[in-house]
Symmetry: D2
Subunit: 322 residues, 4 copies
């Protein structure tokens, strides 16, 4: 059994991680740290876990016997935590924040996108788990940069659910505002663009186009759908061949010949994409669950790879469907 510990246990990504690890056949949850909720049962915060676990939050950090440590704190809090604590080398770290994602400040953390880095992840000791939008965007474009054929500007509109903004209440997460609503935010300048660009250029250094990214807030709780338009000189069959070939051994990423919809993947660690070709353009429509494949599920996928488990272990998750 892998002994796992979680820091930042009261947030959304920790909740999703707990939902997975509690049922994971090869994991024992040693402790869940939360300063704000120490002493409470985990289900007092993640109320859907009532009846599934009697773990309590702790404010103690004890790394003895811990095999893997998940950092689920806010962006900017992971680095001070890692630098401020004497974490034994025997503890693998998976950080769900953006603190170690970029090459110029990775400090030995491997970028944990299995579809791009599977073999490196297998032997990694520290993982920077990708961003949710970044996961959807990269998975949409990897087959193209892998073949060195991405060119021109890429136009991406992607819509995220409300859980993407975390659990702290705000004006734009208020039900009265968000229900039946839609809006744009951080157009052209979303922070995930940097990690996307780094991955694309690591595959295809000569890519010179812009990634024009318009993020939107949707009237749903979970999930991201990205509509990605780029130049493509080929037929739809050539597109299918390129994408299916690239993802043929993927555990969770699939190419659909039917149109996709967001709820195909909600609650699961899957990524499904469909393709359309028209007049020299390729549309990739890609759906993931932002909390699962976009965060905590991918973290467990990385853990499985690091600990030589089957990649889908504990990740055969019932979809919500509706």
């Amino acid at each position: 059994m892998i002994n796992a510990a979680i820091v930042g246990g009261a947030g959304y990504t920790a909740g999703e991680l707990l939902r997975i690890l509690i049922f994971h056949p090869s994991v024992n949850i040693s402790w869940v740290h939360s300063s704000s909720s120490a002493g409470k049962y985990v289900w007092q915060i993640h109320t859907d876990l009532f009846g599934d676990t009697d773990i309590c939050f702790t404010d103690q950090l004890n790394f003895d016997g811990i095999d893997v440590l998940f950092l689920c704190m806010g962006h900017g809090d992971s680095r001070p935590f890692v630098e401020g604590h004497d974490i034994p080398d025997s503890v693998s770290i998976i950080d769900l924040s953006q603190d170690y994602r970029h090459k110029d400040s990775s400090d030995g953390f491997v970028y944990g996108l299995p579809e791009a880095n599977r073999e490196i992840i297998r032997s990694a000791h520290k993982i920077a788990n990708p961003g949710c939008f970044a996961t959807a965007m990269q998975l949409s474009l990897l087959p193209l940069v892998n073949s060195g054929i991405l060119k021109g500007d890429v136009h991406i509109t992607a819509t995220t659910g409300s859980t993407g903004a975390g659990q702290k209440p705000s004006a734009t997460s208020h039900f009265s505002w968000r229900a039946s609503n839609l809006s744009v935010y951080k157009a052209f300048r979303h922070q995930h663009l940097k990690e996307v660009s780094e991955t694309l250029h690591s595959f295809q250094p000569d890519f010179e186009g812009k990634i024009v990214f318009i993020p939107e807030r949707g009237a749903f709780q979970r999930g991201i759908m990205a509509a990605v338009v780029t130049q493509f000189n080929g037929t739809i069959d050539e597109a299918y061949e390129l994408y299916e070939n690239f993802y043929k051994s993927s555990a969770f990423t699939f190419v659909s010949h039917d149109p996709v919809h967001l709820k195909q993947v909600v609650g699961t660690n899957k990524c499904i994409m469909s393709l359309e070709v028209c007049d020299g353009l390729l549309l990739i429509t890609t759906v993931i669950d932002n909390l699962t494949k976009g965060a905590s599920g991918q973290a467990v996928q990385n853990m499985n790879l690091m600990f030589s488990l089957g990649e889908r272990t504990g990740l055969g998750l019932k979809p919500i469907a509706f």
Copy 2:
């Protein structure tokens, strides 16, 4: 033209009041007071009013020439405001809080439920506007107490939209939590029970039953549906006759022979109810918009009565339908 002023202008009920008064043919909005938003355009807070008005919030109170003052502050703030300011007698007051609703502390305010008190309201100078749940519950039961035939316990389950809880973000108003969700709160002890009980007893002093009220939070933004079950010795036709007779001259309250649904009334000042009789029991299913008939629309309806306007003036509101 009636010169109207609003205090507490940045909240939900003030927003709804503005949406109505801006288009009201007999009203001029003199000023909208808000300490927190003074100097801003009204549409910077109530963003849906962009393009409809260029009024700004003010932090000045000037009662010269004001005909009617709407108090849209939080519960408990109206009484100190009224007592702390020298409001001229020429200014009629309509208070949307609960501060003056109860007989033992009404201080001359008339309870503003037109279906119960229409003639008194016409000559009133100060109005305590009813609560939203209270409106739905009383309209469901008025024909029975008016005939003196309410008996036994009354069982009411009523579900409210998220706007019923105000605009301050909270855990239970977070979109991630509330979307597709349902929950009970304040069972048996909702604060609106007192005003309901007072009205029922003013019509039928010998009513001795309990009002068993289970309020619920629904996954919608606007509206209240109340399902009210009580004893009834009669046929469905007798029930229709009783209710239709009572409401035959109502401007906004209607009895439907078809099943009702919440969105029949959303966005409007209407109240629609349907009736079913079975085995000595009567079910009244009643729908209103909590912000309109349950708050600001009813406030305008009261203003229309007080100022001898047609009761529906400025309240012919396009329903949202979907």
Copy 3:
């Protein structure tokens, strides 16, 4: 491994059953029958299963080697199917329709509510799986009738998600109509009342009260919340003791001292209820997922009991939470 077969494979309950059985560690899905979809992949209908299975629907029925047959057809179709086919005695049957639920026409089918009939189910060969509303209502009242203390009328309002109405599009399942809406249907006369009454009387034959049941259609996809009010001479602590004692060995039914909300159970086989006592009345607020505990999850729970598996096998399901 248990060899399972499904008839009526294209409907909602079959979809949910497949979502569970595909990941069930002790089940092999031998075939999934559907006249309308024969030849198609299962994921062409249940699109969220894309990437999880490559089973195709069949229009052939072959009972050789089948251990358990799930009937997921419409109400009224199961009995003709059973009577019209020569199903070997070696095949256990779990019927999700209402065809065999009532005592006067059960024909040897055992009513499959484990909290009421666990030991009988263990040795049963044919199971009539309970209705979704019926499950929520019975679980709310079982501790009372088990102690013989249910008395007076019981008032129940319960709200169901859109999946409760099946997948056939209709006016009241149209998104434009149902989103942000709420309505009552089949008040006083829902068909599940009969199975509820039979169970209650089997525990407490002298119960003489009425079950006054008001079903509602909610603006959510999955789940049922029932608010059940009944007489109770006791304190809240006595209520907790009674309920917790009754459910202390239940695998999926839990008593919460905190208020419950619907999404605590969505996606899972759990039933969670909270209790409130006031003035001689007990409110039981009970939440289940109508497709899981209210249908297919309970069917698998029954299968687990019949085949001597751990009751939670394959039913440790990640909640949706949001």
Copy 4:
């Protein structure tokens, strides 16, 4: 008073038209034709109009005294209707279908986008009312083509509410499917592209770029948000000047310096757009209500222009806000 008649009265656009015309101070609704619903009250189909009107549907067509005829039938039904009936010249026609929108088959119908054609509409006798997506796209781009500076490809992603697909139930309008969901349809080839292209070229004949349009189905009932990205050599202030200058006398189209959101316009005839400039690109984010400005509200706006009424007459509509 203008005597108005409606054909195709049972559909979504007719319902919205009735919601407006019933309260329009200068309109008398002479009759509402519906073959399917003849004899029923209008509120039996458009249930939210209960209490607002007692008009019944008719299956008779009598053009005597009619000033304006609204055609609210399905696409492809208007032309046969017009050609098959002897409609007097004294009857103005406003067609909400796409039958007369294109230049090569307009047969004297004027394209009814007031922001493009206001003066022509004033003297028109027959109007082809624009499509909903087409309205949002054109309003986003008119100031650019008006100045002759649209160049390069335009990338548009626009998301529509469920009412955009009409009231006939279908798989993708089923609440269970659509709630909390998102999907792409008709990418690159939506039928509204043709009318958009014609308008753009009528202003700027030398425009040679492509309109790359990705339509999406959102989890909301009403509204369209379009995110439009195009080349722009200028500052944000120059963009504001261009757009505000173009729309300065518009009755319903407004440029916001704050980010827009869909519910700012839901229930109203307004169009609000925000602008962002980055690195040679301009993002126009545009919101309308698909049933109102995108259909029936714009039809009434056209009627107001044709009959020399104030453009906003009867269109001062309370927004839904939430």
